[in-house]
């Protein structure tokens, strides 16, 4: 529909400079510049390297998105940006850029939550999210179960990892196995050649008295490292594919079991899975099987939209405009630990006056 809001979204919470453009729930452009290769030799994302790369990539990536969408910046109805959570210095580059564009173009600014954006991106694939939606977000930075009644205003955390994120465990195990960084795609590929039942690795927080919806991957990660090291010390060859497959099986088993349980317990018949780990083929397969069995409709965006990108921020921004949510003020700050319940960062009344004084309230 031509009258649906046209929004540009900027995402710089980690190592991807993402700029997306959407019209309502239609994806028009998804430009990404990644600094992932610059981090590989360090075995993890180096914040300062990521921030430097964001600054260099920002304007070219914006222009690429505008060109792909075939629109002019002045056509936009709003600018959305990840205000948090994420790496503080990296977020700040995106937030500063978004403010400058919004101000220069006289468009409303929406500082939005990265996690809610991961959920909302599915609207670009499968249409508007049903209410309520259960979301399982798994990536290198987060592992959460979230229940959303309204993706622009109401996201409730049911559970989260108490130690490492699932993606971190993939990175660590990839390192232990000498497979490289980032670990997710390599472990997934390697696991296809292995037997997922070869080794029984522990399922964290799965005991009767453990918190129902929380996760723990630190123990699993350690168990894999110990198992591999014991083999090496004994002078035996490490069955890399079997270790990868068995580790991946343990992660996906816990994630999908808890997600389906959360749906059942809360009477929710839709499960959305997002975040970089949602690109994992075994997770998608197992989630589909378990959801089918439980009568739950599974919604997983295509892998390219599961990882961090600007389209997800634009998708949530468009929803903010569509639902007439209050824009952010120009003193919006980047918040590295923005709570998931803060779906967006509207200006307060005090800021509201400043916002209107800045001419931002004009229709």
């Amino acid at each position: 529909m031509a009258d649906e809001p046209l929004v540009l979204g900027i995402e710089t919470s980690c190592d991807e400079t993402g700029v997306g453009i959407v019209r309502g729930t239609t994806l028009l452009a998804d430009a990404v510049a990644s600094s992932v290769n610059d981090h590989a030799r360090f075995g993890g994302v180096v914040p300062e390297i990521a921030s430097r790369a964001h600054l260099e990539a920002m304007v070219p990536t914006i222009q690429r998105a505008l060109d792909t969408a075939g629109i002019k910046a002045s056509d936009l109805d709003g600018i959305a940006v990840t205000a948090g959570p994420g790496l503080a210095g990296a977020l700040l580059v995106g937030v500063s850029a978004a403010k400058a564009y919004a101000w220069a173009l006289d468009k409303p600014l929406y500082g939005v939550n990265h996690l809610a954006s991961h959920i909302c991106v599915d609207q670009l694939e499968h249409g508007r999210l049903p209410s309520p939606t259960m979301a399982l977000l798994v990536s290198g930075g987060h592992s959460s179960l979230l229940l959303s009644e309204d993706i622009t205003s109401d996201v409730r955390p049911l559970g989260a990892t108490i130690d490492d994120a699932a993606g971190e465990a993939f990175d660590k195990v990839a390192r232990v196995l000498g497979l490289g960084f980032p670990g997710g795609p390599i472990v997934d590929r390697t696991a296809r050649e292995g037997d997922p039942k070869a080794i029984h690795f522990p399922r964290g927080l799965s005991g009767r008295n453990d918190p129902e919806y929380d996760f723990s991957f630190s123990g699993l990660k350690t168990a894999v490292a110990r198992w591999v090291e014991a083999k090496r010390r004994a002078g035996e060859e490490v069955p890399i594919a079997d270790v990868a497959a068995s580790f991946q099986e343990a992660v996906t088993d816990v994630l999908t079991r808890k997600a389906v349980k959360a749906c059942r317990d809360n009477g929710v018949d839709h499960l959305m899975i997002g975040g970089g780990v949602a690109a994992n083929s075994r997770l998608r397969e197992m989630a589909q099987q378990r959801c089918d069995r439980a009568g739950i409709r599974l919604r997983v965006p295509r892998p390219g939209l599961c990882t961090d990108n600007g389209a997800m921020v634009a998708a949530l921004g468009a929803e903010m405009v569509w639902r007439d949510r209050t824009p952010s003020a120009f003193d919006l700050s980047a918040d590295s630990s923005l709570p998931v319940t803060d779906v967006h960062v509207p200006h307060t009344d005090f800021h509201g006056q400043a916002y209107h004084a800045l001419g931002g309230g004009a229709a």
Binding site: H39, F42, G43, G44, V45, V46, P47, E48, I49, S51, R52, H54, L55, M58, V59, I62, Q63, A73, A88, G89, L92, V93, V95, S96, A97, K99, A100, Y101, W103, A104, L105, D164, E168, D171, K172, V176, K221, T222, A225, R226, E229, F330, D331, L332, S333, A334, A354, L358
Partner: protein
Amino acid sequence: MLLLAFDTATPAVTAAVHDGTAVLAETHQVDARRHGELLLPAIDQVLRAAGVDKHRLTGIAVGVGPGPYTGLRVGLVTAAALGHALGLPVHGVCTLDAIAFQARAEGLAGEPFTVATDARRKEVYWASYDAEGRRTEGPGVDRPAELTPQARSVGAGALLYPDTFPGAHGPEHVSAGALAGFAAAELAAGRELLPNVPLYLRRPDAQVPAGYKAVLPA
């Protein structure tokens, strides 16, 4: 000429509008931790105070450091985005040159001197200037004890280390008015300014945050 100038390379968040002859308006707030929050409102405020519509601007001048990176990038990415969105050229100015320009205006003209700002980690960003105001050394980042500055010195970095910089005085931080004045003079003289690229002077700290440490001792 109608220049919008700003700088975030020192603890000051400063913005100014300059018409090629004089500063029309200037704002200056010192808060090293809030560059990101303060800059855009400051830019808006200074244009209002100058009575200049942003679409009438002819260029942007931005301090490209050296300075602590996180704050520095706020200014550079803002300049890049404004330049892109408004179709304006962005002129980079070495922040130390802008401080030197101001120091000369405040009485140091005709004397050689050194500008030093706080680079944290017990180091300063510095540059030296001759009696005509030309930069003769720097910009560099060093421990004060390793420097032999000019007899006169200015800047917060000089004030912080009196053993190296005896008798140091203001200006402490950069002012966007001086930065704009410097840029306007250089442009009027037909000289090129710097690209909008940060003067980091240091390589990035290649530190991966916790969570990636080895599980077992090697």
